[in-house]
């Protein structure tokens, strides 16, 4: 009996060995290298000095710019997540309930943007929001002044919201599983108007789905780089763009590494906080 178990174990390890080896080499080792890099120092001339110290973290914490950056990243992500849930909720509810024969097609359309590279979608937004884009052309043609919608926070907010929407819709759809249409019908039978039935019966039942969809959208927003970089035009600063600039422009690798670790810890704290709140809310 014991021998059979250990043979099973051994064969399991042998089967998993190539995949584990590849991830140890290309994922674990680099993540350790990143953590190690964050403990190095940067000299006044910008050269890297090997060290085991927290001075890079101290330097970043002393710079008020980084605290602004944190607040801006958090509020931008909260905005994108909230808007994505507000826009995605009716879509997910519709897809969950509809008996239309186009249901599969409509579901595919809702997640289709996932198959399109983020850059392609940004190009679409540049053409819609740009100074000579769709919206401003319409404004000009009716004699109104144009509004700047790219290379600023507004553009990043719009692009980011759209880029996380498919994930939000998927999370909402997955969470709607426990929704029972008969409950709303019962409410209607008992005389509740549709709006009242929705807010008193349907919506409370979907709060866990909303909460999960929001967190996913938030985590993806704070991790996003392509949209803030391209839609912000170098004028919108978030954690992700700052990490990229430190790594590729100022070549301050210890700072880039320390900011990365900081962003990861921030994500972890938020997920733990979300889990604690969810546990308290759900009986």
């Amino acid at each position: 009996m014991n021998g059979a178990t250990s043979t099973r174990r051994l064969s399991g390890w042998l089967l998993a060995a190539p995949a584990l080896g590849l991830l140890a080499l290309a994922f674990l080792w680099p993540m350790l290298t990143l953590a190690r890099m964050s403990l190095n120092e940067t000299s006044d001339t910008g050269a890297m000095i090997e060290a085991w110290s927290l001075s890079t973290y101290a330097r970043l914490a002393a710079d008020s710019f980084n605290w602004r950056l944190t607040l801006d990243s958090l509020s931008l992500s909260a905005f994108a997540a909230t808007t994505a849930v507000i826009l995605g909720y009716p879509m997910a509810l519709f897809l969950f309930r509809t008996r239309s024969r186009f249901r599969t097609l409509l579901t595919i359309m809702a997640v289709a943007p996932l198959l399109v590279s983020g850059t392609a979608r940004v190009i679409g937004w540049l053409a819609i929001l740009g100074d000579h884009g769709l919206i401003n052309s319409v404004l000009i043609s009716v004699g109104l002044p144009t509004v700047p919608l790219i290379n600023n926070l507004a553009g990043v907010r719009i692009g980011l919201t759209e880029s996380v929407m498919p994930y939000t819709i998927l999370a909402l759809l997955a969470g709607f599983g426990r929704l029972d249409a008969r409950l709303e019908e019962a409410a209607a039978t008992l005389g509740a108007r549709p709006m009242r039935a929705f807010w008193r019966v349907t919506f409370p039942l979907t709060i866990p789905a909303v909460s999960a969809g929001w967190l996913l959208a938030f985590a993806l927003s704070i991790s996003a780089f392509i949209t803030p970089h391209l839609m912000g035009g170098g004028r919108v600063f978030v954690l992700a763009t700052e990490i990229y600039d430190a790594a590729t422009q100022t070549l301050d690798w210890p700072a880039a590494a320390a900011l990365s670790i900081y962003a990861l810890v921030l994500l972890l704290i938020l997920m733990a906080a979300h889990a604690a709140v969810t546990r308290r809310l759900t009986p």
């Binding site: 399991g12 089967l15 680099p30 890099m37 879509m91 590279s117 392609a120 740009g130 929407m165």
Partner: protein, 261 residues
């Protein structure tokens, strides 16, 4: 229960926000104008012609295709056995966690970590470096899809084959592998698409002599805004749809993925 008019109207608004950038990219890719302006002054295929004559973009496209094929093959070879071990519960839980961990981290951080690790060994802007980098994000997808596909198969079949006298290898080759084939193809398709579209990690690991198509698109968008980027974006989407349609024709991809979900 039917959906109310309010829900339907709001859903339409959601679809408009979600799909308008794709529609606009498609429309402007056939613009005859010199800029990404709206409305386009006229329609022509000049930007697709320009794309076909752009040597840099063609070589980036070839790199991306070769890279995606290499990464898919390696990810399948390493991922299939690992998925078998997980589906048969022969490895502890933390292995499962490690094999999906890269999907939980921002790709920006993974790219940066790989840059810092590979540069001292001169592996930046090389094929081995790019293949390793793509494996990190492709392997977890492959393992996840393959585990779902293998869990749907019962171990009973292999055991029945063994009872009937088949050696383990023969039972695997004749019973398990054919039954798992739709899952393998679904995993391969996903692996190819993820690698072919990967932008952020590659951004750190390409160089002037070796670049990929999504990175070329990214840098082009940074500096210029002519309809060439729209034509390039449409070509990328067309390749993705083409791959999916091809696999769907062969085995029914939507059915397989629906089954996995």
């Amino acid at each position: 229960m039917s959906t109310g008019p309010v829900v339907r109207l709001m859903a339409v608004c959601g679809y408009l926000v979600l799909l308008s950038p794709l529609a606009v990219v498609a429309l402007l890719s056939v613009s005859s104008g010199a800029f990404l302006t709206f409305p386009p002054p006229g329609f022509s295929l000049r930007w697709f012609t320009a794309l076909a004559g752009n040597a840099d973009i063609l070589s980036a496209a070839r790199n991306s295709a070769v890279l995606a094929v290499l990464v898919t093959l390696i990810a399948l070879l390493a991922g299939f056995p690992a998925a078998t071990a997980i589906a048969r519960e022969r490895v502890p839980g933390w292995v499962v966690l490690l094999l999906s961990a890269p999907l939980l981290l921002p790709t920006l951080v993974i790219g940066l970590a790989l840059l810092m690790t590979l540069q001292p060994y001169g592996l930046v802007a090389t094929w081995p470096g790019l293949v390793l980098a793509h494996i990190v994000v492709v392997l977890p997808f492959v393992v996840r899809v393959m585990v779902s596909a293998l869990q749907a198969l019962t171990a009973d079949m292999e055991e029945a084959a063994a009872t009937l006298g088949a050696a383990p290898l023969r039972a695997f080759l004749r019973i398990t592998l054919p039954l798992a084939m739709p899952g393998v193809l679904a995993a391969a398709t996903l692996a190819f698409l993820v690698s072919f579209d990967e932008t952020v990690i590659s951004l750190f690991l390409v160089g002037p002599r070796l670049t990929t198509l999504p990175v070329a698109l990214f840098h082009y968008t940074e500096s210029r805004t002519d309809p060439l980027v729209a034509a390039l974006a449409v070509s990328l989407v067309a390749i993705s749809i083409g791959v999916i349609a091809l696999v769907d024709r062969l085995v029914g991809f939507t059915r397989t993925v629906g089954h996995v979900e």
